[in-house]
């Protein structure tokens, strides 16, 4: 993976007595969609606001392209953000909303019309934004994020209120932008929204990162390398596997659970011992299961490949 483009290091922030960020640390790499997931109140939005220079952390740093956001030159050309799709002046047209943003970065008006086409807002762009549906507002917000053609795109809960068609469109868009080499950070409080889209997931709870791993790693971890074996001779099978040096546990009369051995080896061991079996299945947890497991127990997990992020 190439150099991280967002580097968040040890962020701490309190709102009164409530701890919002408690050592938030992660990096976001270009070329992939990074899911930023956690329950409401976990600190996702606060972290995003700190990255965008809107909130000041009590401690820690957030760098974008190696600099604090406030130091970025023409920041919309480097970071496109969708923080709140409802953040519109209702009596201003969508096009004029994009126009003032373009003016602030010295962009030509033609770019405004390009992004309007890109998000499929078309004729609605010349209507007052106050009359937009939630989905149209989301598209306008995305158009605003894409205005500067930035290498970093940050979206806070972009799927909220979107119809299924819109969600599919959004996933494709984000995926294609990641393929183009951009760093995409997408937050959600629902893991299911990210499951088929995120290449990498940051699970957040109580102001810090609980898991920072690729989707496959996370699932593998949650499954705990468990393999289920169905056999009519459960106790013999367990004995054979234990003799082979593995933990095997009889769950019921014809099912045993094995850990520490891949399914392929289990088949070999059982075949050699001539123990009949009907099924050997690697147990796969869903991303949702992992998420619930992590956020309820607040256990921390980091894949080896990302350990360097934790200093």
């Amino acid at each position: 993976m190439s150099e991280p483009i967002i580097e968040v290091t040890d962020l701490h922030k309190r709102f009164g007595s409530a701890v919002a960020l408690d050592g938030m640390t992660f990096t976001v790499a270009p070329g992939r969609v990074t899911g930023f997931v956690g329950p409401n109140g976990a600190g996702k939005s606060t972290t995003i606001r700190v990255i965008l220079g809107l909130d000041a952390p009590d401690e820690g740093t957030a760098l974008v392209c190696g600099q604090p956001y406030q130091h970025l030159q023409r920041p919309l050309n480097q970071v496109g953000a969708l923080v709140d799709a409802a953040a519109l002046q209702p009596s201003r047209t969508g096009r004029n909303h994009l126009l003032w943003m373009a003016r602030s970065q010295d962009m030509p008006t033609s770019r405004v019309d390009e992004v309007i086409e890109l998000v499929g807002l078309g004729s609605a762009a010349r209507r007052k934004a106050g009359g937009y549906s939630l989905g149209m507002r989301q598209r306008l917000g995305i158009a605003a994020a894409l205005l500067g053609d930035p290498p970093v795109i940050i979206m806070d809960e972009p799927f909220n209120g979107m119809d299924p068609e819109g969600i599919i469109w959004m996933r494709r868009l984000l995926h294609s932008m990641a393929v183009e080499g951009r760093a995409i950070l997408v937050s959600s409080h629902l893991m299911s929204e990210l499951q088929d889209m995120a290449d990498h997931v940051l699970v957040i709870g109580r102001g810090k990162v609980l898991a920072d791993a690729s989707v496959d790693e996370l699932i593998a971890h949650a499954s705990g390398d468990q393999v289920l074996v169905r056999t009519s001779a459960a106790s013999e099978a367990a004995g054979a596997l234990q003799r082979a040096g593995n933990a095997a546990r009889v769950i019921d009369g014809n099912t045993i659970s094995v850990s520490g051995l891949e399914a392929q080896h289990i088949v070999e061991v059982l075949s050699q011992a001539q123990i009949p079996f009907s099924e050997v299945t690697a147990q796969r947890a869903s991303l949702e299961d992992v998420y619930l497991q992590l956020t309820s127990g607040e256990a921390e997990f980091r894949a080896s490949s990302d350990r360097k992020a934790q200093s």
Binding site: Q78, Q89, E180, R182
Partner: protein, 535 residues
């Protein structure tokens, strides 16, 4: 994927930071793309002009004076009816003046000196009801502080002519005055039997010099005046006048003064031997309220003159009360309130909608954003105020003149100042309430506070009177309205120099400086908070 975006490039270290110009253009785009705000700002200017017209239109001048017609009650209007305003003389520098007095003169040819001893100066004050013409029938003794008796030189008895005079006054001692606005003190003290005063006026070419003396032997020069273009033959004589007293009533009571002159000596060549007595500026068409037309007689070697009126700057309420800005203020307050609403919402709406975060992600330099917003709303408010006044001032004066009102003469420079000042007034207020919006972040509370702090003092100031009113127009943001002041204060006239009469306590630009201080304070606080607070 239908993206037309090119593959992202690494951020280059482009040395061109987005300049302040782009922030300005961005904020200008924001302002002009909300139709309600544009309509509001246009309406502010239109409202100002419309109110100016209405106020001017409702102001009609005319009336009746003189004795009531025979057979009618004592409270009936007089028979001497007129439309339009009475005559107000204009002084040598285009200013409105009072020029009403009793004069006993002898034309002087070339240089010369007139000397006289003032041995007594007494007065009468009108005590009759307001609805009958002042006469000597209802008076009580009393000498006005600025009652004047002395020697005067002038090229003409036309009202408003240039002059110079040495005089004894009711309670300001001996004074040397010329051309209505210049004044220098001489010997102090009132004229009594034990302390008469000697006065002397010398003409040498265009130069006139005033002297006083307690004994007629030792003379002190008080001052000189240069009346350029004085003709060879001038009018030189004794005069007495006595101004309206506002001590007992705000409408004023006319007074009369009587002086006795002794040892009247002319050194110089008189054109004729005959001394003529004139009553100047006391006719029914003259604006200055007088108590009779005065008189002059010569018991023995003395001259006894009675006179009523004043020789000084014209003041309100005597002159009728209208100025270039007198119809404007009400409309300007209306425009101000509308501007306050728009300027406040220019930022509070962003807070309400969370749009401020988008703004700060586009321009993380928050001070730049605030300054750009202030510049945009300030310039727009200036244009609104200046345009409204540029139409309102001439329109107001035209309507007032058409209705027969007297409008104090105004120089073009003063009109330009009122027009620009109205613009600056709206601009500073707009900047101040924008900052207030950034501080409070809520439309309702910011607009309420803005109206309370920046518009209410003006309205309150129109209702209050006396020192409370003056205080409001000195230290509150209402001081900004002092820029509408047209009438100069005169220290040589006792009159109610109230705001209702068109007199503002501060110099025009000083008033704007006070308002500017409020705007700077609000802007400073807003900048501090913007940098400190999370967006």
């Amino acid at each position: 994927m239908t993206s037309s975006t090119s593959p992202p490039s690494r951020p280059t270290n482009d040395p061109r930071r987005e300049g302040f110009g782009s922030v300005l253009r961005s904020e200008w785009t924001k302002l002009r793309t909300v139709r309600g705000w544009v309509i509001g700002l246009v309406a502010a200017a239109v409202l100002c002009v419309a109110f100016t017209f209405v106020v001017g239109h409702g102001n009609q001048e005319g009336g009746c004076t003189g004795p009531p017609p025979p057979g009618s009650g004592p409270n009936s209007p007089g028979t001497n009816c007129y439309t339009g305003h009475p005559f107000v003389p204009t002084g040598p520098n285009g200013e409105a003046v009072a020029d009403s007095y009793r004069l006993v003169e002898q034309p002087l040819s070339g240089n010369g000196t007139l000397t006289a001893q003032v041995t007594s100066l007494t007065g009468l004050i009108w005590t009759g009801p307001a609805n009958i013409a002042p006469s000597l029938a209802h008076t009580k003794p009393g000498l006005a502080a600025w009652a004047k008796a002395g020697i005067l030189v002038t090229p003409s008895t036309h009202q408003g002519s240039p002059y110079a005079a040495i005089m004894a006054t009711g309670s300001h001692g001996i004074r040397w005055q010329y051309n209505y606005t210049h004044d220098r003190p001489g010997l102090p003290g009132a004229i009594t039997n034990s302390a008469p005063r000697w006065l002397r006026l010398t003409r040498t070419g265009d130069t006139l010099t005033g002297y006083d003396s307690a004994n007629g032997r030792t003379w002190h020069e008080i001052g000189t005046a240069n009346l350029a273009g004085l003709p060879a033959s001038v009018i030189l004589g004794l005069f007495v006048t006595s101004p309206v007293s506002f001590q007992r009533s705000s409408s004023g009571a006319p007074t009369q003064a009587t002086a006795t002159f002794d040892h009247v000596t002319l050194n110089g060549r008189a054109v004729s031997d005959v001394r003529q007595s004139h009553s100047i500026g006391t006719g029914s068409q003259d604006y200055y309220p007088t108590l009779g037309t005065g008189s002059a007689h010569r018991p023995g070697n003395t001259f006894v003159l009675s006179g009523s009126g004043d020789i000084a700057l014209a003041v309100n309420p005597l002159a009728g009360g209208d100025t270039a800005s007198s119809s404007l203020w009400f409309g300007l307050i209306a425009a101000l309130i509308v501007t306050i609403v728009v300027a406040t919402m220019f930022i509070t709406v962003e807070y309400r909608r969370g749009l401020i975060r988008t703004t700060f992600t586009a321009t993380p330099q928050r001070t730049s954003v605030l300054v750009a917003k202030a510049a945009v709303i300030g310039v727009v408010a200036f244009v609104v105020g200046a345009l409204a006044a540029a139409v309102g001032v001439p329109l107001g004066m035209h309507v007032l003149n058409g209705n027969g009102n007297y409008v104090f003469p105004t120089t073009t420079l003063t009109e330009v100042r009122i027009i620009a000042g109205s613009g600056v007034l709206l601009a500073l207020t707009a900047v101040a309430v924008l900052a207030l919006g950034a501080i409070l972040r809520k439309s309702a509370s910011a607009i309420t506070t803005g109206v309370l702090v920046f518009a209410l003092p003006y309205l309150l100031g129109q209702l209050l009177s006396g020192s409370a009113q003056e205080w409001l127009f000195r230290v509150t943001p209402a001081a900004g309205f002092d820029v509408l002041g047209v009438l100069p204060h005169s220290a040589q006239v006792d009159y109610p120099s109230t705001i209702a009469n068109g007199y503002y306590p501060l110099a025009p630009w000083a008033g704007l400086v006070v308002l500017c201080a409020y705007a700077a304070l609000a802007l400073g606080t807003a900048t501090f908070l913007l940098r400190r607070r999370d967006a």
